[in-house]
């Protein structure tokens, strides 16, 4: 698939990633040894438009590096990335800055990702301000609209991020991310660390926003309990490569790669646990 993908730009995928590689190296300490990590080793992935693609894998498998390369926050060493048929990597910085608003990212730790000194409205309006998309009063109004859209009361527009709960802060981060009407939203472990019922609420919010704005999601997660129920596609990553992709039923139902089997088994363990808990009472 790799060579074929390199040969031509995608027709159907919103994002196509082909043979992407990235090495992090760090100058050595006392012993003078260089510390080298191959985070990506030729990863290929198509992200279908209007769908929720879950990128799963163990820690250190390269999920976040891949996401950062797509979000143009990190430069890959080799390989190519297309977005809506245009090459975004390799690309000139002029091309990239035009495309940047279209790809937005929501991070894991909302407490440290949001500027604690700005008010909620300022945080949400900041991207609009940077892109010169309106006067100050208009920006605030738009920020309040966006807050309402993600389920936060506009009355809270003057609160600081640390005055919100974890789930509310993540809603705020999502409001900021959708301010520029992006086509692709990358959520890097944005649900980890939240309570399950809060995770379900955020996932429902994402589904609502998807319907309203035809958004595409790349959702990075290591826990498939809830994500496995809503993802359209699941891509499994292992040691810097995408080892399996498919729709939810394929990957969870009949996984092929050893690592996917492990993941699917973990979901089944949960189901099994409930079943045995029930059987226990039936006896």
């Amino acid at each position: 698939m790799g060579t074929e993908a390199t040969a031509r730009a995608p027709k159907t995928a919103l994002v196509r990633i082909a043979a992407l590689s990235k090495r992090y190296s760090q100058a050595g300490g006392l012993m003078g040894k260089r510390f080298v990590v191959d985070a990506l080793r030729g990863a290929d992935l198509d992200i279908a438009p209007g769908c929720l693609t879950a990128l799963v894998g163990g820690s250190g498998s390269g999920k976040s590096t891949l996401a950062k390369c797509v979000a143009m926050l990190e430069k890959a060493d080799s390989g190519e990335i297309w977005f809506e048929g245009n090459t975004i990597w390799p690309g000139t910085s002029k091309q990239l800055s035009r495309l940047r608003p279209k790809i937005q990212m929501v991070f894991q730790d909302s407490a440290s990702a949001l500027n604690p000194r700005l008010s909620a409205a300022q945080i949400v309006a900041e991207p609009l301000e940077i892109q010169n998309l309106g006067k100050r009063s208009q920006l605030r109004e738009r920020a309040c609209e966006l807050m309402t859209e993600v389920g936060l009361s506009p009355d809270w527009a003057d609160r600081r991020p640390l005055e919100f709960s974890g789930g509310q802060r993540q809603r705020l981060a999502i409001a900021r991310a959708i301010a520029l009407k992006p086509a692709l939203l990358i959520l890097d472990e944005s649900l980890s660390g939240l309570d399950l019922s809060t995770q379900a609420q955020i996932l429902n919010l994402l589904l609502d926003l998807q319907a309203a704005h035809s958004l595409t999601y790349l959702l990075i997660s290591h826990d498939l309990t809830l994500v496995g129920q809503v993802a359209d596609f699941i891509a499994v990553m292992h040691q810097g490569k995408i080892v399996e992709t498919g729709n939810r039923q394929q990957v969870l139902g009949s996984p092929q790669h050893a690592h996917s089997k492990e993941l699917a088994a973990s979901v089944r363990v949960v189901e099994e646990a409930y079943r045995t808990a029930r059987v226990g009472i039936e006896r």
Binding site: V230, E271, Y274, R278
Partner: protein, 345 residues
């Protein structure tokens, strides 16, 4: 079938009997304390595994802190936590209120008879001390044994938690061990004095599903060997199925439902428990309905803690006017209790 009174007369007394436990944290001068636990009633029987299930802010860790006498001084406490203790082998059992016990007395209990496994062993272990010495330290605090006997005891417990190369682990510093190994060390440290009660506060939170399973297996095996009762605090019901005997569901500082795991998971009665369990694949009516995950609407707000009625009322889908009164724990069957006026619906 035996009647209720028969059961009481033959059953051993509970190891821990908690009644009306109310804890608050003092936030500032002149302000009322922020409530953390409200009239919690709970029994822990010898040798059983009790899962405490709840989301953040439910009061799970405050409950653990209360049982271990580790609440900050800036907290208000009311109610009782009675611990069954036998001071000498031939003496009768006594019930002691842990809330009123002095620090000196606590030192003979904490670590020896009630022990704790913390959330992150990487942080709770001393980074500049050999792992073996840290386990030996627990024995030294509670038993007068020679150094050689202590070392033997440590090696034995390390072998019991599944280490093959005991010598390597004994001499290792925490940073030289993997996450899974550290967890097993923490279990060994907690169980080395063969306590009657072990409290594990989300011991597997940071681990992936596979490693979680392995740690649970070790914990279960050890709990059986030692015969301790285990309080297992978690936010993930999936970990309790097939592991715990009983489950206690907490919400905003209250126990809203408790009962045998199978019974509660098969037939959850409290609307909060129902909402929580619906989120899991394999549970009843799980999965998407009309393209949405079945969740619990709303959030737990700080102001809600002060209510004189049902704590879940603001988020509840079956609430009526009667829910403005405080619900009492109704006994539905032998050991299944629920605090809800509408549990039948």
């Amino acid at each position: 079938m035996a009647t209720q009174t028969d059961l009481v007369s033959i059953a051993p007394p509970p190891l821990i009997r908690i009644r009306d436990l109310t804890v608050g944290y003092i936030a500032g001068h002149g302000q009322p304390p922020a409530p953390a636990l409200h009239k919690v009633a709970l029994d822990i029987w010898p040798g059983e595994i009790v899962g405490i299930l709840g989301e953040s802010g439910a009061g799970k860790s405050t409950l653990a802190g209360s049982i271990l006498g580790l609440l900050p001084t800036s907290s208000t406490r009311a109610g009782s936590i009675c611990f069954q203790s036998q001071v000498a082998p031939n003496q009768d059992l006594q019930m002691q209120n842990l809330l009123r016990m002095g620090e000196r007395r606590w030192q003979s209990i904490r670590g020896a008879r009630i022990a704790m496994i913390f959330q992150e062993p990487g942080l709770s272990l001393n980074p500049v001390m050999r792992v073996g010495d840290q386990i030996a330290e627990v024995i030294r605090a509670h038993r007068s044994q020679s150094r050689a006997v202590r070392k033997q005891g440590c090696e034995e417990i390390l072998r019991e938690v599944g280490f093959a190369d005991v010598q390597r682990i004994y001499r290792a510093y925490p940073h030289q061990l993997s996450g899974g190994e550290l967890h097993r060390v923490a279990i060994a440290q907690a169980l080395v004095c063969r306590p009657e009660l072990v409290i594990a506060d989300e011991p597997t939170r940071a681990l992936d599903v596979k490693a979680q399973g392995e740690i649970l297996k070790v914990l279960l095996e050890m709990q059986r060997n030692v015969g301790s009762a285990l309080i297992f605090i978690t936010h993930n019901p999936a970990l309790l199925a097939g592991f715990a005997d009983r489950v206690v569901i907490m919400y905003a500082g209250r126990v809203v439902e408790q009962g045998p795991v199978g019974q509660v998971f098969q037939r959850p009665l409290h609307p909060y428990t129902k909402g929580l369990l619906r989120l899991f694949p394999g549970s009843q009516d799980a999965g998407l309905s009309e393209g949405r995950l079945p969740g619990i609407p709303g959030t737990l707000r700080t102001a809600d803690y002060q209510t004189s009625g049902c704590i879940f009322e603001p988020r509840c889908s079956v609430r009526t006017a009667v829910c403005r009164n405080e619900p009492f724990a109704e006994q539905v069957s032998d050991d299944h209790r629920v605090s809800c006026f509408h549990y039948g619906n």
